[in-house]
């Protein structure tokens, strides 16, 4: 599903002393099948953008288009449910939305709401719980007996079971240990590739943005600050620093090595070992030269 924002403004509590403009004249496009990272520091409007993606909020001015659905301040699609079925959102700390008696029931909740047949739900529960790496033995346990990490995975499975075409992830790994973070991000990336999803990742983690996304959008005070491919955005260190963001550590390292030894290594997702080889080859080259 293609997504586009056209000159979107969003104002919270308009005409009150608490009036607050969260989005200002924001325009961008996301093509079907893209993996897009939205970054920006706290209060830059990321969460507000997310809520526009499935019609929880509608723009105060301007227009959002999500696939065939068009939303403006005075027009909302009749079939909101179908929009929400196609756009799955994993909110921050999704484990807070768990409520059912068993893991199985909680995962089935979404599909059941969207009218999926019982037989199919069973199948989807199984595939989605396997996708998030949780044993099917836990299906009959109460979600509240699980560990924090497991609860997170169950909640994510609940969103996946709806089988959305667009997957929106709001800091999906916040508060997880490094191993869990890696596993979950890899899982999302695999799903993105396998099912041809359109994925929108909201994150503070520049490493994740660098590793997974095709495109990066930087928000600042509700407007678009930078937009472009990963290379384009992260080559702009000075501008990123200005809004309290930084380029990923690995890029800093490569840059520093290049500066110090006069090399010109280009980072394109190499592993650390590959980088080490490149560096040593480069250094030997230097020595020979002398």
């Amino acid at each position: 599903m293609d997504i586009s924002f056209e000159n979107v403004d969003y104002i919270y509590q308009p005409n009150s002393p608490f009036q607050f403009q969260a989005l200002k004249n924001l325009s961008f496009e996301i093509k079907s099948g893209e993996f897009v990272a939205i970054v920006g520091h706290t209060g830059s409007g990321k969460s507000t953008v997310i809520q526009h993606l499935n019609g929880l909020l509608r723009p105060t001015h301007g227009k959002t288009k999500i696939g065939d659905f068009t939303l403006t301040s005075d027009h909302k699609p009749k079939d909101m449910k179908s929009l929400r079925e196609q756009v799955g959102i994993v909110f921050q700390y999704p484990e807070h939305q768990l409520f059912e008696e068993t893991v199985e029931k909680d995962i089935s909740f979404g599909p059941a709401n969207f009218g999926v047949a019982t037989e199919q739900i069973k199948e989807r529960v199984k595939t989605s719980i396997e996708a998030v790496g949780i044993s099917t033995d836990l299906l009959n346990r109460s979600p509240f007996e699980l560990s924090g990490g497991q609860m997170r995975r169950v909640a994510i499975a609940g969103v996946l079971a709806v089988e959305p075409k667009v997957l929106v992830l709001d800091e999906p790994t916040a508060g997880l240990d490094p191993k869990g973070r890696k596993e979950i991000m890899n899982m999302f990336y695999r799903l993105h590739k396998e099912k041809g999803l359109t994925t929108i990742l909201v994150t503070h983690h520049m490493e994740d943005a660098l590793k997974f996304s095709d495109k990066v959008i930087v928000l600042e005070k509700g407007t678009k600050y930078l937009e472009g491919s990963v290379q384009e955005v992260f080559s702009n260190q000075a501008r990123l620093n200005k809004v309290q963001l930084d380029i990923p550590e690995i890029l800093t390292v490569v840059k520093e090595i290049n500066n110090r030894f006069g090399l010109s290594i280009d980072y394109q997702g190499q592993s650390l070992d590959e980088l080490a080889v490149q560096v040593s080859v480069g250094l030997k080259g230097l020595k020979k030269h002398e």
């Binding site: 509590q13 009150s16 002393p17 608490f18 809520q51 499935n54 929880l56 449910k81 929400r84 079925e85 756009v87 799955g88 959102i89 909110f91 999704p94 807070h96 939305q97 768990l98 409520f99 909740f109 979404g110 709401n113 969207f114 509240f144 609940g158 969103v159 709806v162």
Partner: protein, 265 residues
Amino acid sequence: MNSAFIIGQYIPGESFIHRLDPRTKISLIFFFVIFVFFANSVLSYALLTIFSFLVALSTKIKPSFIIKGLTPVWFLIIFTFTIHLIVTQEGEVLYRILGFPIYSGALIQGFSISLRFFLLILFTSLLTLTTTPIEITDAIESLLNPLKKIRLPVHELALMMSISLRFIPTLMQETDKISKAQASRGVDFRSGSLKSRVEAVIPLLVPLFISAFKRAEELAMAMEARGYRGGEGRTKLRELKIRKLDYLAMILFSLVIAGMFLLRK
């Protein structure tokens, strides 16, 4: 969140009313609520109305905001007025609407009761508009202090109150967040049969309760970690102090009330 409803909301400001000691505000409002019921003539009502409007204006909060915020109350006021028109049968018949008699006494009584009601709500909402919840509980604790002699746990009561007030916005945010998360999973809070709408509340309430209990536990632990042991010997960061400003307000208020008694029939 319902932005139209302002009762209980605090609007930061620097006005005369904002700077009064909360105890002064609470006591004056308490007396105002009593004395409103003594007004019985056009002039005494007029004096109280003008006084309330002047106080409302002096808070420097936009009048349009206050009026808009009282919208839900307008409905109640109009309702009371209509009931009085229908029920009261005193004085002479003024009009007949669709054959239904409207008595002059009903008109007067309906009007004065509605006005009284309006003044009460306007004046009390000015308290919460200009006073932070913390100030209000501090003031209540200090006003109730004499009751400690009869072993009423005043400090604990005030603490309970300030904690609940403190968590109202948090719970509202939480409700908003969870209802959005569940709406994204296909829950429809707004349409469907009554039964399905009641059922839609469960996925909202269960997580809300769980997080409220968790929060309470965490708060208790955090308080203990910082050495909280009840009110005994506890000092305050913000000491309440009656200043010149407060005496001035009390004198002004007494003058208005005295004037009102003079203008009574």
